[in-house]
């Protein structure tokens, strides 16, 4: 359940590497109780953003607020977070249990039961004496998740967390995230290439491209925007918009780049739209009915048919 309190706020967060701006003035907000989906292509800046939030990287400029504390003091709240960024890393010569016990001791977390609880949650309780270096990718990912959950965090930062998981693992992960969010109020910031999975759990989205935040939107608003519509490609979008409002008495439309209108009315009577535009002197190149999923929405946002 979303709360108006912000767990994370970034203010014009920028990270440059030489001449390359990996992140460019990103300002976003993750509210308490959100499952915030970070969507972007390879190299868009998702991992860079998560690394800045987790303290692995230092911003070139800008600031961030974690649990209401900004600047240098934000690190004090990092013990309320759980993080998986890139491939999970552990000591190769230790077992799963020993690795988690090491971090439990280091972090001063009370109770040895925490380790067992974390391992059971990700179904790694039977790994015995197997060293981390012998783990499969899926097992490594599960152990990373176990570490992220061990301190019972209020805020989870997950970068491609279902990499390497089998379908059963993906389903379990989805259920676990929903359970943590629903039953424990855990706020989750998750980046994933697998948009169908993201769409099944996210309550808010942030769309990143080339280091810039293109849009932030709630799942409800996105659903509204993606609902079935008529896509009309015309020669003069402003004139067509006027005709829709005056002749058809509707303002249920959006004007998109490239003289395209997205019309949410007259879905059962598209011929009325074509007739009105034609009578108003607007050339109609195409008129088709379309609904959008998250992937198509994102592709449209970045302005092209390119892979995520």
């Amino acid at each position: 359940m979303r709360d108006d309190k912000a767990v994370l706020v970034t203010y014009n967060l920028t990270r440059t590497y030489g001449a390359v701006k990996a992140l460019d003035n990103v300002t976003l907000t993750v509210h308490k109780g959100d499952i915030y989906g970070l969507v972007g292509r390879n190299g868009a800046g998702k991992t860079t953003l998560l690394r800045l939030i987790s303290g692995q990287s230092i911003p070139t400029s800008g600031d961030l607020e974690l649990f209401g504390t900004a600047g240098h003091g934000a690190f004090k709240h990092r013990n309320r977070t759980g993080v998986i960024i890139e491939t999970p890393s552990f000591y190769p010569y230790l077992t799963a249990r020993e690795n988690l016990e090491y971090y439990r001791m280091q972090r001063g977390l009370p109770g040895k039961g925490l380790v067992e609880e974390a391992l059971e949650r990700v179904h790694l309780e039977d790994t015995g004496k197997k060293k981390f270096k012998s783990f499969s990718l899926g097992m490594k990912q599960r152990l990373g998740l176990a570490l992220a959950l061990m301190n019972r965090p209020d805020f989870l930062l997950l970068d491609e967390p279902i990499n390497g998981l089998d379908p059963e693992g993906v389903a379990e992960f989805r259920t676990l995230m929903k359970e943590l969010n629903r039953d424990h109020g855990t706020t989750i910031l998750i980046s994933s290439h697998i948009l169908t999975e993201l769409a099944s759990i996210a309550t808010s989205y942030g769309f990143l491209d080339q280091g810039k935040l293109l849009e932030e939107i709630t799942a409800e608003a996105l659903h509204e925007k993606c609902r079935t519509c008529l896509l009309a490609s015309v020669d003069n979008a402003p004139k067509a918009a006027t005709i829709l409002e005056t002749a058809l008495d509707t303002n249920s439309y959006d004007v998109l780049p490239g003289n395209v209108l997205q019309i949410y009315a007259f879905l059962d009577a598209p011929q009325k739209v074509s007739a009105a535009l034609s009578q108003g002197g607007v050339a109609l190149y195409s008129l088709e009915q379309k609904g959008m999923d998250l992937e198509n929405y994102f592709l449209q946002l970045i302005g092209g048919e390119q892979h995520v």
């Binding site: 692995q56 230092i58 960024i85 890393s89 230790l94 016990e101």
Partner: protein, 269 residues
Amino acid sequence: MFNYLSAEIYKVVRRPPLWVCLAAIFAGEVLLLYIEKISSSAVMNFAQGVIFVPRLLMVGFLAAFLISDLVYSNQGKTGTLKNEVAFGLTRLQIYLGKLCSMWVVSIAAVVVVLALYLVPCYFLLDHRAGVMEAMWGLGASLLAALPLWLGAQATCCALCFATRSEGLVWTLSIGIFLAGSTIVNIAVALLGLGPFGPLCEFLVHMTSWLPDSLCQVLFLIPEFNWEGRYPELVRISVDIIQQCWIVGAFWVFVPTLLSLSNFYRKEIH
């Protein structure tokens, strides 16, 4: 810090190389004790067994390199530093935690290794006059060597954080602490061929301040009396001990400050 130290020790004792090295050292000590025992008791006794120890002070540097490796565990390559940073540990805490862990393990190792040698010596070898003098001599050597070892450890720690290459860490550590005076002497010999007189004089003077040179001063101080009586010890001067502490402090603070300032700005992968 206590939590951090506990975790590091938990990790280190689970590293097989630690136990392999201790076993190898113990085997070496058993061999040494055997040789001492079968030597003529007119020559070999407990006091002489004790003053043999300073001759092995340089081993402390090798131990420092190894312990740094055991504690740091090549975190630059394994990527495990990110887990510590992400939980909110400051970079200062992480760095000092690793360094203090190395020191704790080193000191514990010295105590164990010394005990494994001296206790059997006490029971196996004859006791004659000169035991207290020998023990004081050993104590003074250890007091002088301790800061040098701590400095070697701090330098290795600094190198571990600065580079991902284990080979480079070992090469530089050995170069500074085990072969420093040799390298300087070679440089002096080469520079002496040209018009670098004042520079050569400076380098020759600086050689006496290098850790390996100081260690050699320490282990040459106890001298055997080959007539089979108790050893006549040349006492280690307070000046030498002070010099060792100054040199040790240099190798603790300078590399630590340089490496820490670099670590603060570093991207953690």
